[in-house]
Symmetry: C2
Subunit: 140 residues, 2 copies
DNA sequence: CGAAAAGTTGACGTTTGCGTAAGGTTGACG
DNA sequence: CGTCAACCTTACGCAAACGTCAACTTTTCG
């Protein structure tokens, strides 16, 4: 429907409307995920009857969403950030707000990394002791 | 009950039975947590009527539990490991099993660390760009 | 003795981010 | 024209680890 049927694949560059299936393949997510994001107002695809059509804008947003997730933001955080993004085109207060949240997140992530590093070190330590034990038993 | 009342605090070294409250303070957990762990058969405190009395053994187990959590093991994993620990005193197969799980966990943790590092780097990148934007606006 | 503090057992609630049917419609292809 | 794949909505499930009442009993302290 997006265009001639067999032209769908090639039309991706031309046409900026994608079906849910195409989106899933492109971004490596499930349909459920996209519908869920829509329900949470993270994306707002068009419709052809009941069928969703994802615009270029949806794709841009989805990219940001997936990035945000990598950074450990919750979907709710991401929604708010996306809203800020939309609201005005780069007003200082909004950039600052985003920045603040990003810095917070960064701090949290670095703290988490520190903990993780410590835990890794401790676990390695434990393993070393286990190895020692095994070696002793072997020696008998 | 554990001993004379005002002697409770000092008796910690002598007496190896602790109330749930003492445990909580010692380990920084809530009563709910300890009852939950008991329900999950991670610890098995004695009773005085209905009241729990945590033994030295309970404390040793709790320590291991909290360690295990730091390492990212699930409570179920931890329960199994504790059972192994109890079963025999250091039979080779059991040590090996523990080792295997630990190595798995270690790999997972290091993978997670790598991801986290990448995410941190990316987020810093984003921040740098935001800074650039802000600087430009400032310049106007 | 009498009240406050501490402990007890249920049992339902919370959180996040989807997974997973169930059952129905639509559109494209041979 | 039939059918099959892709899509739709609705709604319950889940998973871990406790939190949070509610309603009692038991200690402990003044």
């Amino acid at each position: 429907m997006v265009r001639g049927t067999m032209a769908q694949t090639e039309s991706l560059a031309t046409d900026d409307l994608m079906t849910i299936g195409q989106m899933c393949e492109t971004f490596g997510v499930t349909p459920r995920t996209l519908r869920f994001y829509e329900a949470k107002e993270l994306v707002a695809p068009l419709r052809t009857g009941t069928r969703r059509l994802f615009t270029r804008r949806c794709r841009a947003r989805l990219k940001l969403i997936l990035q945000g997730k990598r950074f450990g933001f919750s979907l709710e955080d991401i929604r708010q950030l996306l809203d800020l993004y939309d609201l005005g085109d780069s007003q200082a207060t909004q950039i600052m707000r985003t920045r603040a949240l990003a810095l917070e997140r960064l701090a949290a992530m670095e703290a988490q990394r520190a903990e993780l590093d410590a835990a890794i070190a401790d676990l390695k330590d434990q393993l070393a002791r286990t190895d020692t034990l095994l070696a002793q038993r072997e020696a008998e």
